[in-house]
């Protein structure tokens, strides 16, 4: 039984991404771009900005990890076939007469299939990023995690700059301040595969790929069907955050800190350093005005 599972995992880990899974990734990415507020408008006002935005959605992870490792960020264009494939998908989704391509991709079973296949490519991207980082920095686990994460989470992490291309600027939020589910699960994946890579996790890579991908695909499909009501990470997150950062929402320190932004810190000054730190206090006060 275990041998059979190992066989399946090995075969699965050798699955080629090109062309079908890549195609699904492009389609799912371009669909989510088209559903951004204002994107259809941009596609009519400036096809070139729309195309560039679509490329950031499709190849964002590759661009971000190139930047992190000081490799040419235009490198992804060297893979002309993939760029043409992604551009065709972009063209069909945005400019197909009577919006046929978009309507067709939005048919629920097709949409679920695309989303599931896109999640499969995520695993491949994370492991690819980790292997790539390992070539540059042998066994530096922090860099392996960060590059794997960047490659897996893709466009998410650079969404502020992707939006800027379309003339949208939302500085008050970003994927680090309010992580979306794909960004979170990519981080977990990057940590797991890095631990596996430095032999910290006693599991074979093909098996881990199979387990992780199954988890990704299943949760994604359930989330799509239940309208995001299903959040598999929330309970673990709550416990972990509670343990590490002692975050009891109606915590007095936090609430104090919220009203006058660094009021809390001035209070502490007052009680500890007393008279002598008055100059420091005044300086802080001036800063916050």
């Amino acid at each position: 039984m275990e041998e059979l599972l190992g066989q399946v995992a090995l075969r699965f880990s050798r699955l080629p991404m090109f062309p079908f899974f890549d195609l699904a990734h492009y389609a799912a990415s371009v669909l989510s771009l088209k559903e951004q507020p204002g994107a259809v408008d941009v596609s009519y006002r400036s096809p070139i900005a729309c195309w560039f935005s679509a490329m950031l959605y499709c190849f964002g992870g590759s661009i971000l990890s190139s930047l992190m490792l000081a490799e040419p960020p235009v490198g992804f264009l060297a893979n002309t076939t993939n760029v043409l494939l992604a551009s065709s998908v972009w063209y069909l989704v945005f400019y197909c007469p009577r919006d046929l391509a978009y309507r067709c991709f939005c048919f629920l079973p097709i949409r679920l299939l695309l989303a599931g296949m896109k999640e499969v490519t995520r695993t491949w991207k994370i492991t690819g990023g980790i292997a790539h980082a390992h070539q540059h920095y042998k066994n530096v686990w922090l860099i392996m995690i960060v590059v794997g994460w960047a490659r897996g989470a893709g466009g998410g992490l650079i969404s502020n700059f992707e939006q800027l291309v379309r003339g949208v600027w939302k500085p008050e939020t970003n994927e680090l301040l309010k992580m979306s589910y794909p960004v979170k699960i990519s981080l977990i994946g990057a940590v797991l595969f890095t631990m596996q890579h430095i032999s910290f996790l006693p599991v074979a890579k093909p098996n881990l790929m199979l387990y992780y991908t199954s988890f990704l695909v299943i949760t994604k499909v359930i989330m799509m069907l239940t309208d995001n009501a299903f959040t598999p990470l929330a309970p673990f997150e709550k416990v972990l955050v509670g343990l590490l950062f002692g975050l009891h929402p109606p915590c007095p320190e936090a609430s104090e800190a919220k009203v006058p932004y660094n009021g809390a810190s001035s209070d502490y000054d007052r009680t500890t350093a007393g008279e002598t730190s008055d100059s420091v206090k005044r300086r802080h006060a001036k800063k916050t005005e």
Copy 2:
């Protein structure tokens, strides 16, 4: 006759840019910086921000193409002579007593000469960028076009970040959303010279340089004299955009899409996927709120 033209083109293509054409490029760039709203004010409040902004105007193409090919973006500073030349021009234009230098450069014939000579440097930059990209990525035409474009369009493409240096932030527009004439013509030039480079265009490089530069200089001078009323690309653009993206301005899809930003897409959902895609629809609705 043809031989004579070939001779002229060959001589023209060997024209050295340093120092006169480079100087004209710096002067025209710094003049257009000074005419930006708020630039004079910044030059008095913070000479260093003004200088940095001027360098981004003068060497923007070089910086951008370095970033694209993962070469040191400070590399342009290694060419100390050119940096000192550009800095001198910046100093004269901004701080010359009684604004003499600026008044002098603004005298129409001089201004036309500077603008014409600046357009000549554009051709050299585009071909330089393409040759540079070819060294890194042999015959990858997409990268050659992109790097040639970045080098030619120069500061235009990074104008959002150049403005940020001066404390100005206009996220609602950028050179991809609303391309200016120099950015458009640089893109066309990059495409033409790349096609010539990969032997797709049956014309010698010196001849293409002569034709393209003549076109650049003549259109630029006419545009300056006619107050931008002359837009040589507009008719071709209209036809091309109409063919490729089916953009009939009062098109029902576009206008629908404009009112509620992705209202169009929700409509399509309703008609195609029907009841089953209701969860997807609700998710979209939530996103757009």
Copy 3:
């Protein structure tokens, strides 16, 4: 006497930064992050954005100089010990029960000690940056100054993007438009050490390091005690700016320029180029609207 000073300077210049001075740098940086408006709030909402922000404060100079020289900006993560040290300081300052660590670091004598030691690391960073730039570009003084400055001024120069991580966006100001004292003094240090490096300044490197560091530490301590009333650079700056840029504050040109942003330039057009430049003028007017 002079020999004794030389001996002291030599010993001083061999002082190891790791671990105590590095630790003080991390503590002082994280403290100043915690005192930013909104930082405490972010630390509760998203520990990961807060951690990333803290890393930008601690390793900003290293990241910026890596970007400038096209080296991997994630390179600082390869020094796992230092990253863990900085992360521990961040954790203690932000999440220590009853805020003990922060209260303790805010005790004035400790705060002064940390600030003084942080200034010592600045000298080491500037000389390190200059030596690093020299490896890439032999004796290109402009690049040596810029990289030394970036390494020394650290997070300051990228503060706009550091703030963006925390969801704060203040485009109307940046460290080039309104340089803070550490950024200014780092620039002066970078110029001095570069001049020493290319044998333009007749002083031994250890001696210069001793003098410059003493100046840094003393001015920093006085500034903290006098509530920033002491500004050692202001008089020199005024003279230098007056000489170079002729900035007499109530200068008619400057005030004119301030009211209608480039009104001044249009005036000059009118008086010099007269009728013929009318088209140019109208174009400017259109731009400024």
